[in-house]
């Protein structure tokens, strides 16, 4: 673990610890929803960071197609991977909130829920698409095209949901009575910063692990004097040594 990754991990732990402490000891109890609203400080930042992560993956995919540098493909892959994990957390925490608030784990006629599920399932197809292609160069190109297309779909989907009529799902930042109080904003922003830092830390951590695996593969080939086996190493094998930052 290099120093900056260690510093990032410590900052993440501090931010998340502070955020959760603020949630339970400082944030006011919501007059409308009561204590169950505390899930908002976890669920909403996870959703925002997951969706932004998909857009970040699309940006890396564009850079990969423009430059052909495999590090951008690796970054795009890891961004999607981490955002999908965050997406699982969003769906589970959202279902728990829905059960407590609406009495049902899932509501199919609510656009916010269904649209997030569609985005999640769309990205869940990224893995079979990617690994169905044996040739690594083609695999990376197709995965980048997928990441760009799906990444463009994310903000469009978000705007479509905001414009939708059905508003059973609460709107976080824009309510009829003026939005969030300042105390809630503070706690929410600390939680958002913590979750964003967590996303970044996990991405950096996984990229470092993949870079190390790639370097070990190169070292093994050099020591054993063998040719690289086709398809071995996956994304890790495509990362040039010393460039996974």
């Amino acid at each position: 673990m290099n120093l900056s990754l260690r510093a990032l991990a410590i900052a993440t732990a501090v931010l998340i610890g502070a955020g959760f402490a603020l949630v339970f000891f400082h944030a006011p109890i919501d007059a409308d929803q009561g204590f169950i609203q505390k899930i908002f400080y976890l669920h909403v930042p996870l959703a925002i960071v997951a969706l932004i992560g998909f857009v970040v993956a699309a940006v890396h995919a564009i850079r990969h197609l423009r430059s052909g540098d495999p590090i951008h493909d690796a970054r795009s892959y890891v961004s999607i991977h981490t955002s999908v994990i965050f997406g699982v957390a969003v769906l589970i925490t959202g279902a728990i909130w829905a059960k407590a608030s609406w009495g049902q784990w899932w509501v199919w006629d609510e656009p916010t829920l269904v649209s997030f599920l569609i985005v999640f399932l769309l990205y869940a197809t990224y893995y079979p698409l990617r690994y169905a292609i044996p040739d690594r160069e083609r695999q990376a190109r197709y995965a980048s095209v997928f990441a760009i297309t799906a990444g463009a779909f994310v903000p469009l989907n978000f705007m479509a949901v905001r414009a939708a009529e059905s508003l059973v799902h609460p709107r976080t930042f824009a309510t009829a009575d003026g939005g969030l109080p300042s105390e809630v904003w503070l706690v929410f922003l600390v939680c958002l910063a913590g979750i964003a830092a967590l996303w970044w830390t996990l991405v950096r951590f996984e990229l470092t692990a993949k870079r190390t695996s790639a370097q070990i593969s190169r070292l093994r080939r050099a020591l054993e004097g063998g040719a690289p086996s086709p398809g071995s190493g996956g994304v890790a094998a495509r990362i040039a040594p010393g460039v996974a930052r």
């Binding site: 009561g34 204590f35 169950i36 505390k38 407590a100 996990l202 951590f205 070292l219 054993e224």
Partner: protein
């Protein structure tokens, strides 16, 4: 002791809503722990691979020293006059 203190804390009411909130945060922590566990397993594999490579490198170094020593002995033997 810590759990008893937590249970008495007014910030975490253990009524029905409190259980759902606790459930949501526990899910998050569990997912995080599973992810960290998987990454730890991956790092363990990397560590084992590195150890294996170190053994290969050391054995190669040993072989090459052996070859150098053998060739040196051979040259010295060739230089010695035959009685």
């Amino acid at each position: 002791m810590a759990l008893a203190t937590l249970a008495q804390t007014p910030a975490v009411p253990l009524d029905e809503a409190g259980q759902y909130v606790a459930g949501a945060y526990i899910v998050f922590v569990v997912l995080l722990v599973v992810y960290v566990g998987l990454m730890a397993a991956k790092l363990g594999r990397i560590s084992r691979d590195l150890e294996e490579l170190a053994v290969i490198a050391e054995s190669k170094e040993h072989d090459s020293r052996q070859q150098t020593a053998d060739s040196g002995t051979g040259r010295e033997a060739a230089r010695e006059p035959v009685a």
